[in-house]
Amino acid sequence: MMTNLFSVFDPSAIFNFSLNWLSTFLGLLMIPSIYWLMPSRYNIMWNSILLTLHKEFKTLLGPSGHNGSTFIFISLFSLILFNNFMGLFPYIFTSTSHLTLTLSLALPLWLCFMLYGWINHTQHMFAHLVPQGTPAILMPFMVCIETISNIIRPGTLAVRLTANMIAGHLLLTLLGNTGPSMSYILVTFLLMAQIALLVLESAVAMIQSYVFAVLSTLYSSEVN
C-alpha cells in the first residue's frame, strides 16, 4: 500500500546503503556490445542517432565551437535517456526524477559556462544581456530580465526534467492503484489507458533528454 503519493520516488534500499542510485550507471552495461565484431542493428541504429545529434549540436554550436565539444552533450543525452527509459520499467529506480541528480548535472555545467564566459569573453557576456534591436526604452528592463533568466537557468533545466519524470510516474501509479477496486470490464480499459500512457511517457523520456542536451548546447554556444 502507498503511504504517500510520492513514496514511489523514495530512494530506499537495504542495509542502509542507497544502492538504488547505482541504477543510474546501468546504461554502462550497454557499452561492451559496441566492441563485438559484428555490430547488431541496434548498434547501427544507435550510431545513426548519435551521428544525427552530433551534426545538430555542431550546427547549434556554430563555427566558434571547439572540435569534439558535442561529445559532452551527446553523453549527457545518452545518460539521461537511459535513466528516463529504464525508470519506466517496474522495480527500477528513476534517478532523473530527483533534483539531486538533475541539479548535479545542470549546476556544474552552467557554472563552468558562466566562469568561462565571464573570464574569457566579458564584453560578449555583457552584450548578451541586451538582445540586438531592442527599443531604447526597454533596454534596462531587458538587462534585468536577461540577468534573472541567466541566473535561474540551472534551476529551470533541472526542474523541467524532474517535473516531467515525476508527473508521468505519478499518473501511472495513481491509475494503476485504482485497478484492484475495478470490475473486469473497466480493468480492460484501464490497461489500455496504462499502455497509452506508457507510450506517452516513452516519448517524454526521449524528448526531455533531448531538450536537456539541446538547451545545454545553446547555453554553451552563448558563452563562446
Binding site: F126, H128, V130, A136, P140, V143
Partner: protein, 63 residues
C-alpha cells in the same frame, strides 16, 4: 573619431560595444540604488535610536 562624447554611439542596441555599455550602466545603476537605499535605512535607524534613547530623552526634558 570625434573628440566629443556621442551618447548614441556609446549606448545602443546594435553594436557589441553599445549593448555591453547599456548592460554595464544598468548593473551599475542598480548597484548604486541598492547602496543608497541601504545607507538611507541605516542612517534613519541610527537617528531613531539616538532620538528615543533614555539618556537623550532626559537630556531633552531637563534642558
Amino acid at each position: 573619431m570625434s573628440d566629443h562624447f556621442n551618447f548614441n554611439e556609446a549606448f545602443n542596441s546594435q553594436t557589441m560595444r553599445g549593448r555591453a555599455n547599456v548592460a554595464k550602466a544598468t548593473w551599475a545603476s542598480l548597484g548604486l540604488v541598492y547602496v543608497l537605499v541601504k545607507m538611507h535605512r541605516r542612517n534613519t535607524k541610527r537617528r531613531e535610536t539616538k532620538l528615543y534613547c533614555k539618556g537623550c530623552q532626559q537630556a531633552m526634558l531637563h534642558g
